[in-house]
Amino acid sequence: MTGERFRIGFLPLVDAALPILAHELGFAAREGLAIELVRDMTWATVRDRLLYGHTDAAHMIAPLAIATTLGRDRPAVPLAVPFVLGLNGNAVTFSAALAAEVGLTDALGDPQQIGAALKQIALARLAAGKPLRFGVVHRYSSHNYMLRYWLAGVGIRPDQDVEIVVTSPPFAADALAAGEVDGICVGEPWNSIAVERGVGHIALATAQIWRRGVEKVLAMREAVLDDRRSEVEALVRALHAAAAHFVAPGAAEASAEILARSEYLDAPRDAILRAITDRIRLTPGGEPIHYPDFMFQYREAANFPWRSQAAWLYSQMVRWDYMAFDAVGAAAASNVFRPEVYRAALAGSGAPLPGASSKLEGGLDEPIGAGSTQGRLTLGSDRFFDGRAFDPDDIEAYLAELP
């Protein structure tokens, strides 16, 4: 039996839902697997437990899986990602004072407009010697890259005009409240908790920055994938079934109930429920608004690990770590995502399987049918807020064009 056990590390975030539900609702058991969930408070600990065998797999911010494989800041250990746990689901939240200064309303604003107003304030604060400070959950997080992509896109230089620091999601609201940061970019429910405490206003959903941005992934050591290939495929099927259930009509309440428990998120059920159902309360005491696809956990083969998503993250790593582009590194980064494992796991099921492993990211304005080897696949708009598209085969040209 022990060979069929997966210990999975996670941080208390709404997008840890799929492994939790796969365990709680029997999707793992149906595949002959037992999942044991290991909760931590920092990504550093989630990563260390994964690397040193305390866990077999982990809920992980996608860029960290790539950084670990490339050996950024520590000895390299190759990781593999056979399954994406979700797209987006994060938000940028301003302190009450900054929200008032920028003129946030009780509707989600336009990223360009908010950015233009923010730029004036950022430059004034810089001139006054008190630059604006933003908290992100990790140096190698999609939050950091999304926030930086937006800031740079509206003319705010992330490393010169403002400060970006790291703050753990469960402490982000505290950092806002204490005035340590003027804004945060974190996952749910931690934005909502800041709003509920009256210390923050949600300015943007990260889905407004990139409509289909890759978020958490299921990461494991490549050696574990090789050793336990058929079990990993069973795990992919269990998570895929959990994802289908997660978005099924009527399932949200019970899912929120489970996630809210002290051993999982230990957070208010209502805030979790709102995130799951794409309703977010932007201002303290305000009515939640509906923003479709705030979190994106299943449709459009959302769990498929597109190599082009990994390549985009690599492009941002090059950009913000001020590295030189390197074709070998780019290939290694793209190869962390393992679409062939996903396809093998779900072959013969009803799940749509993309024919390609890589695509132009940000190229779609409206839903379009895409080539598939199984099932019918439609991809929705995946635009970046500035209208740029990313061609994974020409990262250098893309980087040269970025501000």
């Binding site: 931590d40 408070m41 920092t42 990504w43 550093a44 600990t45 260390d48 437990r49 040193y52 065998g53 305390h54 800041d73 520590r74 000895p75 959950v137 990790h138 140096r139 620091v165 790291v166 703050t167 753990s168 469960p170 402490f171």
Partner: protein, 193 residues
Amino acid sequence: MRIAIIDTSTTRAAIISDGLRAAGLDDLILIDPTGPLVAQIEAATPEVVLINLENPSRDLLEDFFAMSRALARPIAMFVDQSDTEATFAAIDAGVSAYVVDGLSQQRIKPVLDLAVRRFHAFSSLQRELDDAKHALAERAAIDKAKAIVMKRRGIDEPAAYALLRGQAMRSNRRIAEIAEAIITSEALMGDME
């Protein structure tokens, strides 16, 4: 060699620093977990940083180390993996270590080994303390249950204890469990005379 210790448990931090000092490593800086972390580390300029694995500040700390690459003495993110065994032992014990680039394995290993032993010592101390507390709580429950039985049945203490023990043996449960059941039932039905 200057070593900084960051621990959410001040007791464990003290146990580790005592151990290091006893081994002749006395250039120690205890970081105040309630104060500003980065500023303290920056001021301390340590060559080795020991931190408990589950410390909530680790992401922040690693970000600072990554930024510090520009400094004269950058701190590597982790103990070199050439000594995998030591690193595994450290993670298992619940300690992570960061060292400045270029510090030799021979100098790091004794520090790490010592930290591991001290972390284990703290864990067993903690366990003993928990066991002792648990035993005390059980003792108190048994005394309370005995008092209830004595009053209800009008018997003396040895007889009450014998009754509890007999019931525990017959139902293959621990005396403390029987005591808990008696206390619960007394709380629910004690007024029904």
